[in-house]
Symmetry: C2
Subunit: 341 residues, 2 copies
């Protein structure tokens, strides 16, 4: 299966299926992490042809998605003396592809990169769309660039070694897209356990994202729907210092918070809220959470990069549609989120 | 006077003349340095209208064009909680505008910036074209982004406080463009002392750059002519740890090295070489230089970001034209540069 993602300046292919040979006329720097490299680097290298191949291994984990990590990747690139014609290749989850994307965006003012995503979350979401970046003391993905890859190679085989917890976390991003953009996909997900229908589920998820990103690459309208659950998720992750929750888990909690707010405002009815909850529960994503410091939590929401003083909430409007609301005051939010306080 | 610079995605104005009021609907972070701020910040602030104005002062000098400097600017931006609708405004020379450009390119994946250049070099060259970046251990401007400003406000009045040495260094970039792109401008420069014809000289220089950049924003062909003298200059600056030579001075030396190589290869005749030298001399730019370690110098040339294994030399072909040559071997170069060894 193959999809083509249209960006402002070029289009790139997303291939879904057994990894095909990747060939590049000049040098390639493969970047992976300490968990993925021992599992999959050899497989990738056996499929890769280039004039010269270099590898870089970074420590695994969201807490390493920092400037220091970028500097380390750049150092490997400078040591390899990559030119603007060469390529970086990310092998790993969203952290690796976000970082390689950002490193390649700023190396000599930008070189090309490709992605071989090895987590479900990266396959269905992070690898497509051109968002790259790192975290800092102020929050998540606050430093970065829009820098689309030149190709994405999705091989569901890589997911066989993925821990169950990570696999499930990735499903949150699939449910997110179903709720905001595509009722049919939501109903398909309700009827098709992903353990049995994985490739098709991934394909449908990427197809939705491709359509959204092609219409709004720079997040000026439609693409904002992809942030459903994410403003909350970023605050949850920040509070937990990026180590208590996987990104997808935080998104699952954020989805339920957004739903509670949507219900409170009459945008979503209770039965639909329950349906979304039930689908999350199928994959163990009905996670508990407690907001211990509401004021701090609220401040983190304000700091999220899409926000100015007012917070932009992406709220589902039934299934398959959403609204962006900036007019929710603090006390309204607090009442709507009482179940988490 | 006003020029419009066309980029792939938008165009922006370059205004030349007494600084006009700058208005912005939302927040503005003004970034300046420790030399420029005491001289000109008040003037700028008196012309600036915005919903909220923040200021950031960085230490002056090329040696501060580092990631630490970027982090410091970003910190001010996060403290001000700038949103994607807000603006950074660079007040200063090329170091300040390169850094503010890069910081704004990666802050929340990109916000707008404008430039009020206060050095001749920044007015005639650095502020136009969208190149932003920082130096690192591997060389100059090796980390960065293409991120064009939204407006450039050139007021020659700011140059009254510029030290003579810096003023002259800026002229090297004007001569550079004349030699590679425009014989008429070269002859105009020969006849018009810039002390008396400054605004017109700046206008002509920016106009040439505007045309070049519009035709080749990403440096895939024509724009490479702007690197005339620069591959050498970057090596000279690196050897001197960015403190012995001003950028323009290094460019002036680099121009003479490129000319020597061009003469050696029969691309430039001796009388023309002498004419260029004479024009440089008018402004005290016929600077002496000694390459103490040719092997190290050659390695630095190879590391320059436009190069792969072979080095791409931009060489004048008479006046008003250039060629890019990648076929010069080390011994040829050494012979051509014997005057500096």
């Amino acid at each position: 299966m193959r999809l083509e993602i249209q960006t402002k300046n070029f289009s790139y292919p997303v291939r879904i299926g057994v990894l095909e040979p990747i060939t590049h006329a000049s040098k390639v720097l493969v970047v992976s992490d300490s968990i993925v490299a021992p599992l999959h680097l050899d497989t990738l290298l056996s499929k890769l042809q280039a004039s010269k191949i270099f590898t870089h291994e970074m420590p695994s984990g969201e807490e390493h998605k920092t400037w220091e990590g970028i500097e380390s990747i750049l150092e490997s690139a400078f040591e390899a003396n990559l030119s603007r014609k060469d390529l970086m290749l990310a092998l790993g989850g969203g952290v690796v592809s976000d970082m390689v994307g950002f490193a390649s965006a700023i190396y000599k003012r930008g070189i090309a990169f490709e992605i071989v995503p090895t987590t479900l979350l990266a396959q269905v979401d992070a690898s497509v769309g051109g968002k790259t970046g790192i975290n800092n003391a102020y929050g998540k993905n606050l430093i970065g660039a829009f820098h689309p890859p030149r190709a994405v190679h999705i091989d569901p085989q890589f997911l066989k070694t993925l821990p169950q917890r990570e696999f499930k976390a990735g499903i949150a991003e699939m449910i997110k897209k179903a709720v905001c953009f595509n009722k049919d996909y939501f109903e398909w997900l309700e009827k098709h356990p992903l353990e049995k229908h994985l490739s098709e589920g991934i394909y449908k998820s990427v197809a939705i994202k491709a359509e959204v990103v092609a219409k709004d690459e720079r997040e000026e309208g439609l693409r904002m729907g992809l942030n459903y659950g994410h403003t909350f998720a970023h605050a949850i992750e920040k509070v937990g210092r990026y180590s208590t929750h996987l990104h997808g888990e935080a998104v699952a909690i954020g989805i339920q918070m957004a739903n509670a707010l949507a219900c409170y405002l009459g945008l979503l009815d209770n039965p639909t809220q329950e349906r979304i909850k039930a689908l999350l529960k199928t994959y163990g994503l009905n996670l508990p959470y407690k907001i211990t410091d509401f004021e701090g939590f609220y401040k983190d929401l304000q700091m999220d990069k899409k926000n100015n003083q007012c917070i932009c909430f992406i709220l589902p409007k039934g299934l398959g549609a959403f609204v962006a609301r900036e007019d929710i005051d603090k006390s309204t939010l607090k009442e709507a989120l009482h179940a988490w306080l």
